[in-house]
Amino acid sequence: MISIKGLKKVYPAKHQDVLAVDNLNLEVSKGEIFGVIGYSGAGKSTFIRLLNRLEEPTEGQIYIDGKEISAMGKQQLRKSRQEIGMIFQHFNLLWSRTVRDNIAFPLEIAGIPKGKRRARVEELIDLVGLKGREDAYPSQLSGGQKQRVGIARALANNPKVLLCDEATSALDPDTTDAILRLLVDINEKLGLTIILITHEMHVIRKICHRVAVMESGRVAEQGDVLDVFLHPKQPVTKRFVEQVMGDRDQEESLHLLENYQSGQVVRLHFVGETTNQALISQVSKRFDVAVNILQGKVTQTQKGAYGTLFVHMDGSAEEIARAIAFIKTTSVEVEVDPNAE
């Protein structure tokens, strides 16, 4: 769907040119929610603007839906932009227009006749859940409602791709969740390909299928969200994973728990887990062991749960061994005696 080859953006400066995006290669498939995460200054904002050429690439090719965006003339680019929706951190609504007229704006640009325009606007208002607020001005809306208008506006011309530029960074956590749910909803309903950039790992965790981690203009690491969560390779990725999962070093504090004379400390790794959420209670029912959760964090991603739990099992040695064998038959990974190393 989207294919980016050798993309490069240099801002010329007096002393030293600034390399904002450096030799970037990415493939995004149709219907995917692709996240790009990075700290400020990593080049992700420039990257997303290169995709619809709000910034002109210095080098490289961008293909969206088989068409080379990077080779288009002005006229053609304008037409293509109508098929690429974009939403922004600060919403960028026209304050002089009502909700309805803001949503109608891209339709006016595309030259849709008035009657059709009105019908489409009503559809979109329904889709984003703004019924009853059609005649309000942006200044009368909350942040979440403003972003809903932004989303409706971005979807007006039935785009194939939606670009999200830090779309939830100006929102409070509850509103962020609501907007993310709306994005997933749209992605599933309309089969829309979504590229979003963010500096918040929980946004990636909540809705993305794949993720690329950017650092100083380059992709440091990319892959399935679960993979990246599980085996972060680069230091920058590890830092982002810690944002959601907590510090790994903290786990080492389990050394202090060596005062368990009997039984066994086990580390359970939940990876893409959706069916075995009752695992702990199953184990304690089926086997004659007492299970005590010591510490852990399990978090939900688009492809299921991910996280670790440290549990202490007490009982006879055979019973514990049987319980562990049972857990191994599920998709939960088991690490026995994690402190033994």
């Binding site: 619809n52 709000l54 680019l77 304008r78 037409k79 293509s80 932009r81 109508q82 690429i84 974009m86 922004f88 600060h90 960028n92 609504l93 026209l94 304050w95 002089s96 227009r97 704006f105 891209p106 006016e108 640009i109 595309a110 001005y137 942006p138 200044s139 506006r153 011309n157 670009l163």
Partner: protein
């Protein structure tokens, strides 16, 4: 009672003068809006980072604006005599004052327009570009509507300056309340006439300010 207090004031003459003042002000405001918005857009669009970024054009537009703003109005009228004569066919009367009034105030308004346009959120312009808008769509559907309250308060300030200019133009025979106050009031030592003309000009200024503020407030949905 009124004729006792102001023995020299003839109402029909006053009405004519008021009519001339309004005529000059309204027509020159209209001309200033057209010329000022065009110049202001040119200044804004050709500036660095603008949609039509062009150093040379921007330099000339800015030079034009600065030169005409620097010339004192009374001198501008005199300098424009040949041009006015060519355009209107006379250099006397309210109509002959119009070229000088418009040329004198349009550059001032152009700067106010430029300031107003600079205040428009760049993100909104970016959003319009991302939707595939043409430049003229961005100008007419984003830049101008989004800066409208500033454009209206700008023209209010300019209109009030223009009322003052019409009084100055009166001194060289343009008609209107300034003319009336100077020739009939001051030169004939009929100070009641000067007083009445002054009060009327102040009232007209208040009316313009009130209307301008009202419209600007109505338009502003921020």
């Amino acid at each position: 009672m009124l004729s006792e207090l102001f023995p020299n004031v003839k109402m029909e003459d006053i009405w004519t003068a008021i009519g001339e003042t309004f005529y000059m002000t309204l027509i020159s405001v209209a001309g200033t809006i057209v010329l000022g918005v065009l110049l202001g857009l040119l200044l804004f669009l050709t500036a660095r980072g603008g949609l039509w970024q062009n150093k040379i054009l921007n330099f000339f537009a800015a030079a034009l604006v600065n030169i005409f703003r620097a010339i004192p109005f009374i001198i501008l009228i005199l300098l424009l005599f040949p041009f006015t004569d060519f355009l209107i066919g006379t250099i006397r009367g309210p109509k002959a004052a119009l070229p000088a009034l418009i040329i004198g105030s349009a550059p001032f308004y152009a700067r106010l327009v430029e300031i107003g346009l600079k205040e428009v959120d760049k993100g909104v312009v970016e959003a319009a570009k991302a939707m595939g808008a043409k430049t003229h769509t961005i100008i007419f559907k984003v830049l101008l509507p989004e800066s409208m309250p500033a454009l209206v308060s700008g023209i209010t300030v300019t209109a009030i300056a223009l009322i003052g200019y019409t009084a100055v133009a009166g001194v060289i025979g343009a008609g209107g309340l300034g003319d009336f106050a100077y020739f009939y009031g001051f030169q004939r030592r009929e100070f009641d006439v000067v007083f009445i003309c002054t009060v009327l000009i102040v009232v007209i200024v208040f009316i313009f300010q009130f209307i301008g503020d009202y419209i600007a407030n109505k338009l502003d949905k921020r």
